[in-house]
Symmetry: C2
Subunit: 247 residues, 2 copies
Amino acid sequence: MNIGVYGLGRFGFFWSELLAEKFTVYGYNRSDLSVYPSGVVSSDEKTVLDCDVLFFCVSISSLGQVLMNVADRINPAALIFDTCSVKVYPIEIMRKILPESVGIIGTHPMFGPDSGKNGVQDLPLVFTPVRIRANEAENWKKIFNGFNLKVVEISAEMHDRDAAFTQGVTHFIGRVLDGLNLQNNEISTTGYRNLLTIVEQTCNDPLQLFMDLQHYNPYTHDMRNKLNESLKNTMRMLAEADPVRDA
Amino acid sequence: MNIGVYGLGRFGFFWSELLAEKFTVYGYNRSDLSVYPSGVVSSDEKTVLDCDVLFFCVSISSLGQVLMNVADRINPAALIFDTCSVKVYPIEIMRKILPESVGIIGTHPMFGPDSGKNGVQDLPLVFTPVRIRANEAENWKKIFNGFNLKVVEISAEMHDRDAAFTQGVTHFIGRVLDGLNLQNNEISTTGYRNLLTIVEQTCNDPLQLFMDLQHYNPYTHDMRNKLNESLKNTMRMLAEADPVRDA
């Protein structure tokens, strides 16, 4: 089985190296890379599109355009995975754009080079079969389990709702705090140092990922409004109870 | 040397137990306790006020009233410590209210029963001598170092400015996120689980501590405004770049 990884950005780089521990992996990136993922065969677009299995590791917002560009050149017997951090939207466009003949599984590997730097054991991989025979889906769950990942099979809607209030809120807080230019200092508490780590890790990811997470997950709007509301409530509670100073 | 701890709330309880590992410690609490800190002698107010050394572990907002109530009954040769999470305000009122004869050192032990549950090694204790002979201050730094604490000697102003943007921002984020009633679920990322821990730990502390931290630190107003501003900027950036949805 040949696996192609289309897109070797921050996540695709990490993911292709992981897959290459067990499979022959061909990697393609639109622009040249100065460093190549270790164990991955540097390939042209055609070679990757010819693979038996194809993982798309492109940004959420570019997936539609990429699929339209390549749809009629994909191996017609291929199994296609997306790896996007939202699920409703990419599954919708994969169904719409990909040829009828290919298999489709949505995934969201919920980790990256930061959280997975000491291994991916027990980290969650969301698994959403779309157009695939049950036994083949089972087989892929076993393969991902074989990497010690925690495979979580849920619907795209459930994923997006839960992710908005977990990963979505984390990234949003990380970006908001980044605007304060927070620093470590000698009186940093344990909690504060943990907060700084969250800011660093979320802001290590591309800004595009943050924007796409917030735009293409239908539940993040609600999350942001609730957060904004809670901030206002907290500010109001403080102002009303203020005994001395900043009234 | 007898040490008195005045106030056995969440922090005073923890602190008196720590001190009792090395000293004879008398503890007093305004109301009866069902469980008493281990190794600490349960005492009446008079016994504690007669001690050679006296730590006040009361809320920031009640310190002024407590000091006015006890000032003329304190051992006139005592050394007085506060342990408040802000420093400018309590030092100002200790100078004003305490008798001329007593020594004064401001401290902020930057930990509590959560962050110190596996030991206090290397956790910071802010140390601000106010009215004390240099050799006696040095002696107390050695004593705190003897508990493996990291003694940080800084001015009250520097403490409050730095604490507003470290401990202050952490508690503020913790309380704001608490309003979202966030839950752990099977697709929680590592960063999100760390964020949940911050929420839990900050909300384990009394609400009064949060309110006092925000009200009595002259720099937290600025911190909250910057945070609010950054949230608005992030919301605006998302709205302006929105390709599809929640415009």
